[in-house]
């Protein structure tokens, strides 16, 4: 089997240092929309300058290089065990080369493994597909934004959320309000509707791979995504919570089957440094690209 470790290092480097154009464009649009000389506009200018500087110098966009979350799509017969080993080795190299901060600490002792590997660290999801090539997705998800994520079990009496799409809307509004600017706004909300507590959260995080400008294949969800994007920005929390017109850059959601007894709405909050990339390895050709 081919050793793809060096390609995985390149994927980590690109994801950590080079923000995707859809996110950069959304930040630039947000910057233009804010009142000139406002704190919100200033924050977005600083962010955009930082994005450019990181790309030019090859340094991490944010010092919190986050949890590396990998998604593999692989042809039949490829060894997952070997791919896990290669992924861990790639993280060791990327950490040594300072594209990642050592970010894996033992839960209770707090001891840092020093190389971004550990028990169930990184997160890796495998999917077998009927193509003859490998595709790898990577999200680097920072801790400050992860702490703003949450899960609702509806109905909720707290904000009168019913077990339908109206209740889902209220849960997402509540999450966005409670997050204020703490997750490094303007962020992106990934939402999983249904499932169990675990699958719902996984689905929420998968939504972060979608291009910001895409359309949800489900017309009802597409409408809600666009409505919530506007409504949340209307709360006026703004970049960094300074007040302003842009609190989120997008809301992306997907539905899963659930048990009759359960109705979960899971929200993954991603900071403005929405670091995610895809890599394809096909007949020896390696391509690293933003979501499209």
């Amino acid at each position: 089997m081919q050793d793809i470790t060096p390609h995985l290092v390149e994927l980590v480097k690109s994801t950590s240092t080079d923000l995707s154009p859809d996110v950069e464009q959304a930040l630039a649009d947000a910057c233009r929309a804010e009142a000139p000389n406002s704190a919100a506009a200033g924050a977005l200018q600083t962010i955009l300058e930082n994005v450019k500087m990181s790309r030019e110098t090859g340094r991490p966009i944010c010092q919190d290089t986050g949890t590396p979350i990998f998604y593999f799509w692989i042809p039949e017969g490829l060894s997952q065990r070997k791919l896990i080993e290669q992924t861990k080795e790639a993280l060791r190299i990327a950490t040594k080369e300072a594209y990642l901060r050592p970010n894996a600490v033992a839960a209770l002792s707090g001891k840092n493994s020093g190389d971004n590997t550990g028990t169930d660290f990184p997160t890796i999801h495998f999917h077998e597909w009927d193509q003859d090539y490998i595709r790898v997705g990577l999200v680097l998800k920072g801790g400050g934004s992860e702490n703003c994520g949450c899960q609702y079990s509806i109905p909720s009496t707290e904000f009168a959320a019913s077990r339908d799409i109206k209740g889902v809307r209220k849960a997402i509004l509540d999450a966005a309000f409670k997050a204020q600017g703490f997750g490094c706004a303007p962020g992106i909300l990934g939402v999983g509707i249904g499932g169990d507590r675990a699958t719902s959260t996984i689905k929420a995080k998968e939504q972060l791979f979608r291009p910001l400008t895409d359309t949800n294949p489900d017309p009802e969800l597409d409408k809600l995504e666009k409505q919530l994007h506007q409504e949340i920005n209307g709360m006026g929390i703004g970049p960094m919570g300074f007040g302003g017109k842009t609190t989120v850059l997008g809301v992306k959601m997907a539905e899963l089957h659930r048990l009759p007894a359960s109705f979960f709405v899971s929200i993954a909050y991603m900071c403005w440094a929405d670091r995610r990339k895809f890599m394809t390895i096909r007949n020896g050709n390696v391509e690293i690209a933003p979501p499209k």
């Binding site: 924050a43 930082n50 944010c62 300072a98 209220k170 204020q180 600017g181 490094c184 006026g236």
Partner: protein
């Protein structure tokens, strides 16, 4: 336009600032987070300074009068010439220092605290009473902030660990926003209150 501030900062300069003002900070400042704050409280503010810490006390008294504390656990590289360099230096969440900051502001006459996420009433009152501000740095702008750190002059209490030590750094045009001023106003409280009204309206819709 951003206001330029240079350490040491006078009380007059602080009193002119209001929430929402943008600031470009220059001069020598100190990083400090959990361990550093506990150390200052235990040794200098609540306790009597032991002989072993007298030198550190004198240094801090001089540096923090009119000075600035930055809530930051940097990524640091030691260069071949033995000097240190900040690689990434974004702000960390400030609320953990809420129990200590008011006393530190009062005792050392600190004029500015830089961090992320804002702080609560105890710190806000200390800012009002003693003439200090809370400056919010831009979360995630790690490369840009590291670039504004022109020199790592020294490090103190490195035995606390790299993120927790007092890093004495010279910054130039470090961008921040005043989110808690010396007149009792907090941008965090204002935004929370205003967004709550909008949120309640949206729930009714």
């Amino acid at each position: 336009m951003a206001t330029k501030l240079t350490v040491p900062i006078s009380e007059d300069e602080i009193r002119k600032l209001h929430i929402g003002d943008q600031v470009l900070l220059s001069g020598v400042i100190f990083t400090g987070r959990d361990a550093a704050h506990k150390y200052m409280i235990d040794n200098f503010i609540k306790g009597t300074c032991p002989d072993s810490e007298k030198q550190m006390y004198e240094l801090l008294k001089q540096a923090l009068a009119g000075g600035v504390i930055y809530h930051c656990g940097p990524v640091v590289r030691k260069r071949d010439d033995g000097k240190y360099e900040f690689v990434a230096a974004g702000p960390t969440t400030s609320i953990r220092e809420e129990p200590y900051t008011a006393d530190v502001i009062e005792h050392f006459q600190v004029r500015g605290v830089i961090g992320k996420g804002g702080m609560r009433d105890k710190t806000l009152n200390a800012c009002k009473q003693h003439g200090a501000v809370y400056l919010h740095a831009i979360g995630g702008a790690a490369t840009l902030i590291a670039e504004s750190v022109k020199e790592v002059e020294d490090v103190h209490k490195l035995d606390f660990g790299v993120p927790e030590a007092f890093w004495q750094i010279r910054v130039e045009d470090f961008p921040c926003v005043v989110t808690m001023d010396s007149h009792g106003a907090s941008l965090h409280d204002k935004v929370l209150k205003e967004s709550e009204e909008k949120y309640q309206e949206l729930l009714k819709a």
